[in-house]
């Protein structure tokens, strides 16, 4: 069995502030938390391997997408490194994978009690929904994996994130590494305890794989986005096929989910230039 891992950083045990996960303005805190992040990913790999997984692809999906401390990663996994991938956090998902893990994930923008909650680009995306369902990064990414028939098996992060995913995908094994108190505080497991829990959860997730289902949206897919600012909507409205629904709201519809996913990526890339 081949496993896809999309790893983010805000949902790592102990993380409660942007400094800890800010790779762009090198902060001493980042160096510490990227280790914890790497080790949570390693734990997920160990658990999966204990349950029989062979090939593993890890898509480093946080910030500039080159955070993993490669020295600490098992020698025989493949790592997807670097930014500006058209499918971003789920680049290179294809039907050859038996399942996917979301490690270190976080709540959707607007969630209560969700440390560092955001959806891709918080300065641009105020809210996003598909077919009327409010989406987190986990939802958006799960649907792209689902489009190629790959089910999500494991999610790790704070309780809000895990419960949010399990509400939409009840077959997903959840590992809660912290309880968020608002947006910038959390009661967390220690990194060592979180890593143990992730290892156990990963093994259980692989064992439960036969019960998991690919998550999909019905076609045609309707994407509705509320932007943070009107000037962003001014630009985003120009994307072919987009309709302006309000001063800060746009809508796009397409039969093909990958087209919708890329249109969403184009939205926050373009909106960030406003």
């Amino acid at each position: 069995m081949k496993l896809y891992i999309s790893s983010d950083m805000e949902g790592v045990a102990g993380v409660c502030s942007w400094e800890q996960v800010d790779a762009r303005t090198p902060h001493p805190e980042y160096a510490i938390y990227r280790k914890y992040y790497t080790h949570e990913v390693c734990s997920a790999i160990e658990g999966a391997r204990a349950a029989g997984v062979g090939d593993v692809l890890v898509n480093d999906s946080h910030g500039p997408m080159r955070n993993l401390v490669l020295d600490d990663i098992p020698a025989d996994v493949r790592v997807l490194f670097g930014n500006r991938k058209p499918y971003s956090m789920v680049q290179d998902a294809d039907p050859s994978f038996g399942g996917a893990f979301f490690v270190g994930y976080h709540g959707a923008i607007g969630d209560a009690d969700a440390v560092l909650c955001h959806t891709y680009t918080p300065s641009v995306i105020y809210d996003v929904s598909i077919n009327g369902v409010r989406c987190s990064e986990a939802t958006l990414n799960a649907a792209l994996l689902g489009h190629v028939g790959v089910p999500v098996l494991l999610v790790t992060g704070d309780r809000t994130t895990v419960e949010g995913v399990r509400e939409q995908m009840p077959w997903v094994q959840g590992v809660v590494v912290k309880e968020s108190i608002g947006t910038f505080a959390a009661t967390s497991l220690t990194p060592a305890a979180a890593q143990r829990a992730i290892r156990d959860g990963a093994r259980a997730a692989i064992e439960n794989a036969p019960a998991a289902k690919p998550f999909r949206f019905d076609s045609p897919v309707q994407l509705e986005i509320t932007l943070a600012k009107t000037e962003q909507a001014d630009l985003v409205e120009m994307i072919p096929g987009f309709a302006r629904m309000g001063p800060r709201a746009v809508r796009f519809e397409h039969v093909d989910y990958p087209v919708v996913f890329r249109a969403f990526v184009a939205t926050w890339r373009l909106g960030a230039l406003a």
Binding site: R24, P64, N83, R84, P86, D234, L235, E237, M238, I239, P240, G241, F252, H254, V259, R262, A263, V265, A266, R269, L270, A272, L273, A274
Partner: protein, 279 residues
């Protein structure tokens, strides 16, 4: 009888301009001088249009952040409106509609790839752009937008390269070449005063040609090919629906409606800037 003229004014084709420093609003040394010359050339075009019978004039400030014109230099004119600011969905062609009798393009410049002063097309990430196989300058792209409303271009001012190019497509338009380019950052130019006189006379003559001038259009369906400077720019543009990658540094967009095509081109030039290799 109303006679409405639309003026899209750019800056690189202003007399004396030969360097980005002169046209960069953040340059406190040179820009203030050349912004005044730009304004004075626009005023000359307005005066010539008035002498030729124009009753209403809309000037779309079309350079950089699009608020360059010095209002004090434009004179009191009840029939004059100024469109300032950016971004605008139709950019240099914002405000155009079928109510206009003609279009002036002032201060325009050669397209990316031409051997001419400050030659470019919209942004640095555009290596070339073509519509239906025809390589396009900004002037041609917006002439076709005017054409989509049945409005002809009457006047083009700028360096000789763009004036000569436009004469091939729009032989009825008056061209005023205020300078000859000597490569990318040098020009052999008229003085601002002489350029303004020539533009005023050209504008007056252009108004007299409204009867002969024809709207410029491409034939539908329309095909846009944008070649980008870097692979990373095409990566960004390709994210958008309906754009197709046709080369490592090339994207294609097709439409039955020219205004849809123009909008796609404008947004392509914008999203390409998201390809910041340092992020």
């Amino acid at each position: 009888m109303t006679m409405k003229v639309f003026i899209s004014c750019d800056m690189e084709g202003t007399a004396g301009v030969c360097s980005w420093n002169q046209v960069d609003p953040s340059n406190a040394h040179e820009y203030p001088t050349y912004r005044r010359y730009m304004t004075q050339e626009v005023r000359a075009a307005i005066e010539g249009a008035r002498e030729g019978g124009a009753t209403d004039i809309l000037v779309n400030d079309s350079h950089w952040s699009m608020h360059n014109l010095l209002f004090d230099e434009l004179g009191a004119d009840d029939g004059l409106r100024i469109l300032s600011g950016a971004p605008k969905p139709r950019s240099m062609g914002q405000g155009l509609d079928g109510s206009f009798n003609g279009v002036f393009l002032t201060g325009y410049h050669a397209k990316a790839g031409d051997s001419a002063a400050l030659a470019h097309t919209m942004t640095d990430l555009v290596y070339s752009v073509s519509v239906n196989g025809t390589p396009c300058s900004e002037a041609l792209i917006f002439a076709a937008l005017a054409g989509s409303y049945g409005v002809p271009v009457l006047l083009v001012t700028g360096d000789r390269t763009i004036v000569t190019e436009i004469a091939q497509f729009l032989p009825w338009a008056v061209g005023v070449a205020v300078k000859d380019s000597v490569g990318y950052t040098a020009v052999n130019s008229l003085t601002p005063k002489a350029a303004q006189d020539a533009i005023r006379a050209g504008a007056r003559e252009a108004m007299a040609r409204t009867g002969d001038a024809k709207p410029f259009t491409f034939d539908p369906p329309y095909e846009l090919i944008v070649e980008t400077a870097g692979v990373e720019h095409a990566d960004m543009i390709e994210l958008m629906p309906e754009f197709r990658r046709v080369g490592t540094r090339a994207v294609r967009f097709a439409a039955n409606d020219y205004r849809t095509l123009l909008r796609a081109f404008i947004v392509a030039t914008r999203i390409g800037a998201a390809a910041n290799p340092r992020a």
